[in-house]
Symmetry: C2
Subunit: 388 residues, 2 copies
Amino acid sequence: MNITAIHERTLPLASSMRNAVIDFSTMTVSVVAVVTDVIRDGRPVTGYGFNSNGRYAQGGIIRERFAPRLLGAAPGALADADGANLDPFKCLAVMMTNEKPGGHGERSVAAGTLDMAFWDIVAKIEDKPLWRLLADRYNGGAADPLVNTYAAGGYYHPGKGLEALQDELRGYLDLGFTSCKIKVGGAPMDEDLRRIEAAIDVLGDGSRLAVDANGGFDLATAIKFQQAIQPYGLKWYEEPVEPLDFEAHAELAASAVTPLATGENLFSCVDTRNFARHAGFDPQRDFLQVDPVLSYGLAEYLGIIEMLRGYGWSTRRLIPHGGHLFGMHIAAGLQLYGMESYPHVFDPYGKYARGMTLGDGKVDLPSLPGIGYEDVPGVDELMRALAG
Amino acid sequence: MNITAIHERTLPLASSMRNAVIDFSTMTVSVVAVVTDVIRDGRPVTGYGFNSNGRYAQGGIIRERFAPRLLGAAPGALADADGANLDPFKCLAVMMTNEKPGGHGERSVAAGTLDMAFWDIVAKIEDKPLWRLLADRYNGGAADPLVNTYAAGGYYHPGKGLEALQDELRGYLDLGFTSCKIKVGGAPMDEDLRRIEAAIDVLGDGSRLAVDANGGFDLATAIKFQQAIQPYGLKWYEEPVEPLDFEAHAELAASAVTPLATGENLFSCVDTRNFARHAGFDPQRDFLQVDPVLSYGLAEYLGIIEMLRGYGWSTRRLIPHGGHLFGMHIAAGLQLYGMESYPHVFDPYGKYARGMTLGDGKVDLPSLPGIGYEDVPGVDELMRALAG
């Protein structure tokens, strides 16, 4: 089998929200359709993907480097051993032909965006939902039928006060969430502590609330904040400092009581390995949130899981960043801790598929073959338009 | 003052050469012209830049993110305190607006490409060659009128044998070089050792030869190679292993006699700081080769120098990667160890300006204001065409 066409469109992901370091009003997203020469029901099997939030569209790298390499690959060079399906690991190797080591950003997003479409194809050709395929291939058949999730929100908006924050969180509880995450570090510490207390008032217990500083604190402030939030018994304290400052993480980790979490800005296996080696995180207490789509795709992420195992990390301490359906499949099929959701924030890319249900903080998964974007309102039309 | 236009063109950098990990036949380069509203001799002052070799063109990021931010900056927001000249640090901050931390690759190249043009502008407006401006601003006025350089070559080509390698190196000696660097790791070790011996035969002494594995060895092979080359007394042993595997570097560094060198795949200050902290390099013995153009530009590189000073590194242990005239100015004006040259390899981007002379392994610098690409054969026409 071969890939016959790759379509990319760069679309706005406009939003008025803001975290501690950036606003999202000019954020863009690459949406891709990868067409194969495998015919099912009279049509070529086509996979869909898009890049995870927080990083910009990658049309340049996809069009100038990755698509030509994939489309120019020798016949069968992207297929698995019996030639019947795509091999995403071979696809990654072909994309990375004549790419130097190091410099893991942007191209890692471009690769991950296409990788999402590759796995969609693989599961469609095997006629299974992706989570089932992943469980069968990589997890001895075991899967979580319900995936832990939480509502990632609590962004700063101009004029948004404590009541608006509480209303937002109540809305998440009404949807069936039991845990939430809010941003910190974008306001003075006193104000952030009042936001945390207001959030706990709604959620009922600190263990249902995570906070996310998006790397905005310097180490001294991060330590002060860590001490200040300790009495609340929060779920975790996310990205307190510059995400690549391993030494600062090690200093925080040495005295942490509240679990620490980070990883959405580690974009490769080698970067994550450095984090595991040098940042002092405790695999029994802390969480890693590497985003499979931003970091060369699931083909790389499976290697990251294997690597982390060697440093004492169980899959149950991994929570992919991104809040998309692809990550839900990964969390279910590989039995991770869970996956985040961004209700209304990154619509339609963060939406569940029609028929998915959320209750008691857990979500079930679609039964369509592949990822199931054909059943996600708003994404379905985009994908159809892209494939032509 | 303001930036009024930014032009980018993506051009091939085609070459049949190959190192241990990639071939360069499809490599591309972004060439940029940045036009200002400052008029000199009746024409707007325009700066020129291009990305350093080994990484691809960055037209997508420049056009979609950096150029709109620079061109949309508030009047004067890119200017220095008295408004008369561009401030490259402010330009970097504007380019990085709404960019998340981490993921230092590709965008770091896009930023560095434009940064080269910014410094060209700054020096042209001050009517000084860039090396003199850098010396005056950042080095107490001290500069090296002659810059240490060496010929980086010795690539693998299909059918290239020992005699062709020796002929290549003799050609470099004829040009005025006294030291050379050749690739290793792309052939069996026995063959590489014969290549090293053949090279030393031409150069006269091992101390005149550096070898570069481009990160192609695993740790065990890198250690074996390190032991095998120790008797030759080489100038340095470059990129023995995966450039982000700090632990492997630390293991090599612990028993190194031959100086170690790496850094061309560290693309930010935070990545370089992690290397300084965790990779065990010896600032008295080893070299760092961070490429200012690939890593967010000279504005970031000046911060890297300051950061490294805190870890015991003198500028005399720094050798920028890239082999272009911009790096020569940096090496002269900040009194680095020196700068590499790639005779004939990356022409015209690696060429010296008309009137520059090379002798006894040192090169002088052009006296034109700015970087002086207007005087570099082949680059001059490109730049003129680009500025329109």
